[in-house]
Symmetry: C2
């Protein structure tokens, strides 16, 4: 590839987070910018990370009754209009196909911004009896939202990859369980696969998905103090079912309206992952998603070359056999120092160094990414030892992200305190809130922070007695943050 990695990362995570992120994404070979503003190219190393996230989530979905399907890329304008709330929510962001070949279309087609309005009619068609429920569909696809903002790979792009689940249920309880099952799976993906703690909550009423009864969310804290909506799971009540006639005959032969849900997680999760763990040396990836979990770097001189390369190849072969994703870097035209930097830039969690000392003593030297801890171990039982070290790397990453999050939830009791705390520290500010959108506005206007979540449980007692803004009785505990 290019030699630009020789330069390494030139900007600083703490001082120039935006530039640093763009550099890490490009030099770590996750993505490049496409010729059209707002679009990116997901490079093989980036796509491999996405595939690992897909594999995990898709497996959990299938274990819990979800079936994959595929619905058309285009949605007729009249279908989008059937759910007025959706149109109001998405109309300004839709990419429109107006011509097919040389002909103008009679009805223009939206490139799907989300698929409720094309999937719901089929949920209606396939739902006849209570025996057909719950009906749980998911699709992995890309969607397009024509937002005119600066491109930020995985965070802000006009086209993005995601999964969207759409389900129909016989009653509220079943639909609510579904909503929470998917939210829990998103949380699990962050915590067990991406080594990131998240907060679970619910969007305030004025920030719900259009038409939803409840929009639940997992929120992840970024190192610059902003919150990322990491995945959302919507309980839609009967609003979509009423608009699209999703009805069924119950056990008593009575016609009933179904309750529906939808839930989605996009490649923004990858953006959050990259931003959370990476550092000024480049990409840092948890072992579960890294394209290569281990790189073996042989260190040799002319007279030891043959035997050290052989010893290294044996090691790589043994790990490969054991199912470890391992790469032997036997490039002869690069020295070990270059290789160390190169694989640090590319986020390989564990490096194995093999030099004459290691070979003589039947050992290997491990080096952990990101903290560079170096440990020499016996070469015996190598797959088990590697497993332990990968677990150790995961634990370090998780602990570091957890420590950051825990220190970044602060309380505030007045408008000035909210503004001061968010302005100074970022992170989350926990306050009492009366529930009125008007009390969010002064904060939004002043520093572009908003209520990113309230507690999931609607009956939970607010922590504070009074709304920090208006002083009226608090109805909820609100979490203010700046967000992506």
């Amino acid at each position: 590839m290019t030699d630009e990695q020789d330069l390494g990362i030139t900007s600083s995570k703490s001082h120039q987070t935006g530039d640093w992120y763009a550099e890490v994404v490009q030099k770590g070979e996750m993505a490049d910018y496409a010729p059209m503003g707002g679009f990116i190219v997901t490079r093989p190393r980036g796509y491999a990370v996405w595939e690992r996230l897909q594999e995990n989530l898709d497996g959990w979905f299938k274990e819990t009754g979800v079936q994959n399907a595929y619905f058309p890329l285009f949605i007729p304008e009249s279908y989008l209009e059937k759910e007025k709330d959706i149109v109001e929510g998405f109309d300004p962001e839709v990419a429109w196909v107006t011509h097919g070949g040389n002909e103008e279309l009679e009805e223009r087609l939206a490139v799907r911004p989300t698929s409720e309005s094309i999937i719901a009619p089929f949920l209606a068609q396939w739902t006849r009896s209570h025996r057909d429920l719950p009906l749980r569909l998911n699709q992995w696809c890309s969607v397009v939202r024509w937002e005119a903002t600066e491109t930020k790979p995985f965070f802000r792009t006009k086209e993005f990859l995601w999964q969207e689940g759409h389900t129909a249920h016989a009653d509220e309880e079943s639909a609510w369980d579904e909503t929470m099952t998917r939210l829990d799976q998103y949380e699990r993906l962050y915590e067990e696969v991406m080594a990131m703690p998240v907060m679970k909550g619910r969007k305030p009423e004025h920030d719900k998905f259009p038409g939803a009864h409840t929009t639940s969310t997992v929120e992840a804290l970024m190192p610059d103090g902003k919150s990322v909506q990491g995945g959302t799971s919507h309980y839609l009540g009967t609003s979509f079912a009423e608009a699209f006639d999703i009805e069924f005959v119950d056990e008593d032969e009575e016609m009933q309206t179904a309750h529906t849900t939808s839930w989605g997680l996009s490649w923004r999760a990858m953006g959050a992952l990259i931003m959370t763990h990476s550092d000024d040396q480049g990409l840092v990836l948890p072992p579960a998603v890294a394209p290569e979990q281990v790189v073996v770097v042989p260190i040799y001189s002319e007279d030891t070359q043959e035997e050290i390369l052989e010893y290294s190849a044996d090691i790589a072969a043994e790990l490969d056999e054991a199912g470890v994703r391992v790469h032997l870097d036997d490039r002869d035209h690069r020295n070990p120092g270059f290789k160390y930097n190169d694989w640090e830039l590319k986020g390989v969690p564990l490096r194995i160094e093999v030099g004459p000392n290691e070979m003589a003593d039947g050992e290997v030297t491990f080096s952990h990414r990101p903290d560079g801890e170096s440990i020499t171990e016996s070469r015996e039982d190598l797959p088990a030892t590697v497993e332990e070290h990968l677990d150790a790397v995961f634990a370090k990453l998780y602990a570091s992200a957890e420590e950051t999050l825990e220190g970044e939830i602060r309380e505030a009791e007045s408008r000035e305190e909210i503004l001061g705390t968010l302005g100074q520290h970022g992170g989350y500010v926990e306050t009492g809130w009366c529930g009125d959108e008007a009390c969010e506005e002064p904060i939004k206007d002043a520093i572009a922070a908003e209520i990113v979540m309230v507690p999931l449980d609607r009956d939970e007692e607010p922590i504070h007695d009074e709304c920090a803004i208006c002083g009226e009785e608090a109805e909820e505990t609100a979490y203010f943050a700046k967000s992506y």
Copy 2:
């Protein structure tokens, strides 16, 4: 779901192939028609088949050096125009995005009909040295071609799912090897997974992919005597590399132009699969792709219900444990006859019937789809026995498809013979051909048949001395057929 399956398939495969196919696809729950002409909805059972095809092919790709990536859905018009041949080939079939939100775009964007023109610039960017080659990328995505023809699920749809591979190589040999490796993998998918023999060949010069040096193809024969292009692998020579500056520094520090390939297989493979094996009872699916490989149907009366259901559940659990995709049909509101028909309609390859006799004797009764062969076996070592029966079903399907193909290759030595043979039998007609497109035209005009392939090896001696049409010296052996 609906009760329409009660009716079963009402049209006949041999007499009303088109209607029969549409019925099998819908009643077998593979797909439904979308509200817009030319688009379909791939239902969960259909998508599960596509996932099995993906899994197999993707695994082979990765074992042979291919990396997945993802490129934008849209291609700027000016990019498409860079490769004039592609524009000429695809322009009339492109869906155009002209508006984003409420704004008209400055440059309209094509919804990708294929991605050479957006991928090639990145192959150029990522190719610097001979060490970067071969560079092998693949993406799984959907593409859109605005063809104004009747919708036929999986065969003719404006949007279709496929994979498209794009590779760059240092020389012709490496690129040609790549072209053949992918063609062989397509053949393997048909033969080992889909139980379908195929013919490998090359498209005549006038029917190549625009800009290609060679378009190789696997062709599958459908039961109505038409040929389906089952997957194509193109050796593109240096034409794309020249148009998009894909160059590299070789070992002697000289600048060289790369050789490129592209290759694709679409969900048309699923259409060919469904059409080949299915019958008047419904869908027939080979074990490797069937969503359920085995269905267990308990046959009980009121007083045997409990113990037979328990025996059946044990069987299903044991098979599930062994990795067999098994479904226990314990629906109490349906009788065994209904269940037999239902699962035959849905293409489950192997049925296990469990009644009082089977239970008393510690046995199970197998029934094969499609031929209904019924065999009673001991319940001991059930996973191994099931494996054998699944293999037997596969062998039957393959043998039947092979027999059809072998009987459908006929020779002809004159225009009249070609027309007569194709008109009467369909299938393939093998003739001598001078190589001139003009000699294909009279056949095309008369009965819409064409040369679907010539032998892969350009040096292969033609079987016939003379062109069957013009009587000049034959340059090639041509295979005429009607095609999808």
